[in-house]
């Protein structure tokens, strides 16, 4: 209540009213006082004047002595005194020489109680100097004849008037007294009435204003406010429009609120529709993404001739980049990386067309340049949107270890061997624009362990917060690191760096990479007997791609594991062991045996607690695991599978 605007308005109005009323009371005080005062003075004046007229020509001495003569005068004056509510009405003869006055007639409004009737009865002479009013009356003046006195006869206001004889000589003076106390009482009475009237009207006005405020201001405001609250809290039950009555501000407000509520309702409806649409679109995009990802082969592949890793991270749900690889006849494998102009759905559709066309021509046995030539013609034939792709297509022949490739305007891949370099550049126009474009073809002999790293500009043009490109220099540095520390896939390394570089920015372009390394895998199956170590030894020693400095070490590890399998895993020595040796950019030795379950990694000895004087055994597994850079064990299909990995690392 205290905070309500009606209350505040009411308080302000009350204050103004009080101020006004106080002014009224002050003004009223003066006017009531003056009016009562003047009224009584006029009584005194008219009485005195009338008495003078009555007594005009009367014999003063005879009035003093002849009671019968005085009686009618006395009665008349008495009536006059009563009629005009006078306190005293008296006639006296002034003696200006002796400074005395002699009372001729004295009328009191109350004889019994009046002190004056005894002390100043007719004929009494007292000393009295005439006051200015009496002197003025004596001189025939009528304007300034009022005196106020306060003595033991009471507080009175006196009007003096002169009595003349028939010749116009002053014979006596008349004094008409009105009671000042009575004047005051009458004033107080009248002023009280005024005060009460003002007070009542004040209360009345306040009540009326309060009622008006309540009905015209508070109530409409409350209704609007409640409806506004309900609009938010009780949406389910729907919005009832506010009634618009009249044309005042509340009507305007209600109208505006109705309008706003309508607009919000429409807006929400639109948003709901949009959200639904977006959900639908998201679901469709998700399906599109699945389909597109389904077009690409797995992100890692391995056979006895090659290991491949790849990644494709679209900037939007679907992208225009792709990688591809597939086996061709006669130990050949085709690798492709490409980038369609644009992003999103249009790029994805064009991409699905391009990947199919390239795969189709590659599987028909065409060379890389021919694949690009035909792909270009096919794509540029029906291409209303003028889209194009940059593509790098290569075929690796495992028999000859020759990689033949052609390029349609794509970023040149790196060859990671002992050093990092880009492949010799056979340049060519991006595919899909001009028909009959010719593409050069180049080839290179790859060593086992070399890696070809193919990527799209989503890597080199990844931007950081300061809008700086990742750049090829960074890629080269990462790959240089990789040549000396090959314990991770180069794709993971680059991806990790790019992601760290672009932290805090939205991915601007699809990120796609493909790397492959030629490898050689040899397998032998042996009986678990130590005599067969010779076969393992010759396999390792005769593999050309293993550097000499590693051969004895690898054999040491292989011997220890094999001997261990013979002694522990195969108690009866009748089982068989499959030994596989894979050389790529690292060497992987795997042992498969069907003996009893035995995990050598768990049983590895702690060399620091090995005591040369007492303990024999445990050294072999320790040696093998120390030589390997990584060792993995699993028990699968009743077989112990132990894999030792050794990276090429110059010591």
């Amino acid at each position: 209540m205290r905070n309500s605007i009606s209350f505040k308005i009411l308080v302000i109005i009350a204050l103004v009213l009080i101020l006004t009323d106080v002014c009224l009371l002050i003004l009223g005080f003066h006017s009531v006082y003056t009016s009562v005062h003047n009224n009584y003075i006029s009584y005194a004046k008219s009485s005195a004047t009338l008495a003078s007229d009555i007594l005009e020509g009367a014999d003063m001495q005879r009035l003093l002595t002849d009671e019968a003569y005085a009686k009618p005068y006395s009665n008349t004056l008495s009536d006059l005194c009563e009629a005009n509510d006078l306190e005293y009405l008296y006639v006296y003869i002034p003696d200006t020489e002796k400074n005395t006055i002699t009372y001729v007639i004295l009328i009191c409004n109350d004889y019994s109680s009046s002190l004056a009737t005894t002390e100043r009865s007719a004929g009494t002479t007292i000393e009295h100097s005439l006051n200015p009013a009496e002197l003025s009356a004596l001189n025939g003046d009528t304007s300034n004849n009022i005196t106020e006195t306060n003595n033991r006869y009471g507080s009175v206001i006196t009007y003096s008037s002169a009595v003349c004889d028939l010749n116009g000589n002053v014979t006596a003076l008349v004094g008409a007294d009105v009671s000042a106390d009575k004047t005051l009482n009458v004033f107080i009475e009248r002023y009280s009435i005024l005060f009460i009237v003002i007070l009542i009207s004040f209360v009345f006005v306040i009540i009326i204003i309060a009622v008006i405020l309540k009905t015209k201001l508070l109530k409409p405001a409350e209704i609007i406010s409640n409806r506004m609250k309900c609009y938010v809290t009780d949406r389910q039950s729907g919005f009832k429009k506010l009634e618009v009555k009249g044309k005042d501000e509340f009507a305007n407000m209600a109208d505006s609120f109705n309008y706003m509520a309508d607009e919000i309702d429409n807006y929400i409806k639109n948003i709901n529709a949009l959200t639904e649409e977006k959900h639908l679109r998201d679901a469709e995009m998700s399906i599109a993404k699945d389909i597109q990802c389904g077009l690409l082969p797995d992100n890692s592949y391995k056979n006895k001739n090659i290991t491949i890793s790849a990644v494709m991270i679209p900037a939007k749900e679907v992208g225009g980049d792709f990688y591809d690889y597939f086996n061709l006849k006669e130990d050949k494998i085709c690798t492709v990386i490409a980038d369609v102009s644009g992003k999103g759905i249009s790029a994805a559709i064009f991409m699905s067309r391009a990947i199919t066309v390239i795969r189709q021509y590659a599987q028909m046995g065409y060379s890389p340049s021919e694949i690009l030539f035909r792909t270009n013609n096919c794509l540029s034939l029906n291409n209303p949107e003028q889209m194009f792709i940059t593509a790098f297509v290569g075929v690796y022949d495992a028999k000859t270890q020759i990689f033949t490739y052609a390029n349609a305007g794509h970023t040149i891949p790196y060859l990671i061997s002992n050093t990092i370099k880009t492949l010799d550049n056979p340049d060519g126009m991006a595919a899909g624009i001009f028909e009959n474009e010719k593409y050069e073809e180049s080839s290179i002999r790859l060593k086992t362990g070399d890696t070809v790293f193919m990527f799209t500009d989503g890597i080199s043009e990844a931007v950081n917060k300061d809008k700086e490109f990742f750049g090829t220099k960074r890629i080269e540095n990462i790959l240089k690191n990789y040549t000396t520390k090959k314990n991770n896939s180069c794709i993971d390394l680059v991806l990790g760096e790019v992601k760290a570089y672009a932290t805090g920015t939205a991915q601007s372009d699809d990120i796609t990479m493909l790397s492959f390394s030629p490898c050689k895998t040899s397998e032998i199956i042996l009986k678990a007997e130590t005599e067969n170590l010779l076969d393992i030894r010759s396999l390792i020693m005769d593999t050309q791609d293993i550097p000499n400095y590693l051969k004895n070490k690898l054999y040491l590890a292989a011997e220890e594991i094999f001997v261990n399998i013979c002694s522990y895993a195969n108690d009866n020595n009748s089982g068989s062991v499959k030994f596989s040796l894979e050389v790529s950019d690292k060497i992987i030795m795997s042992f498969y045996d069907d003996g009893k379950k035995f995990n050598p990694i768990h049983n590895n000895a702690d060399i620091n607690s090995y005591d040369i004087d007492s303990q024999i055994g445990g050294l072999g597994i320790y040696l093998a695991l120390s030589i390997a850079d990584e060792a993995n064990y699993e028990y699968k299909n009743n077989k112990n599978i132990l894999t030792l990995i050794k990276y090429f690392q110059e010591e």
Binding site: T530, N552, Y555, E559, V563, Y610, I612, G620, L623
Partner: protein, 100 residues
């Protein structure tokens, strides 16, 4: 593997050539077993190309035989590659081993 024995004063020197692995270590075992009245024992690994854990075990038994008999045991002329194996197994700290 080829083993050549040479005795001078109180010291027996065994020259071991080639590969000391699972197959060949029994030969060394037999050779050490056949030694009688030894005092100091020296294994000369100048021409040893390869040693495996079975070879290490023969080294340990040779060491025990010599020290039990009150003699000294040492390995000399160890190639870098074989030394790697000694280092891995901490043998280089326990035994008197000198490089080539």
């Amino acid at each position: 593997m080829k083993i050549t024995k040479k005795a001078e004063n109180n010291t027996t020197i065994l020259f071991i050539e080639g590969w000391l692995d699972t197959q060949s270590s029994p030969e060394l075992h037999a050779e050490i077993d056949s030694l009688e009245e030894i005092n100091n024992l020296v294994l000369d690994f100048e021409k040893l190309e390869y040693i495996s854990s079975s070879g290490l075990r023969e080294v340990v038994s040779a060491y025990k035989k010599a020290t039990n008999a009150g003699g000294k045991f040492s390995i000399i002329n160890v190639s870098e590659e074989v030394m790697d194996v000694f280092r891995l197994t901490n043998f280089d700290k326990k035994l008197e081993i000198s490089a080539k």
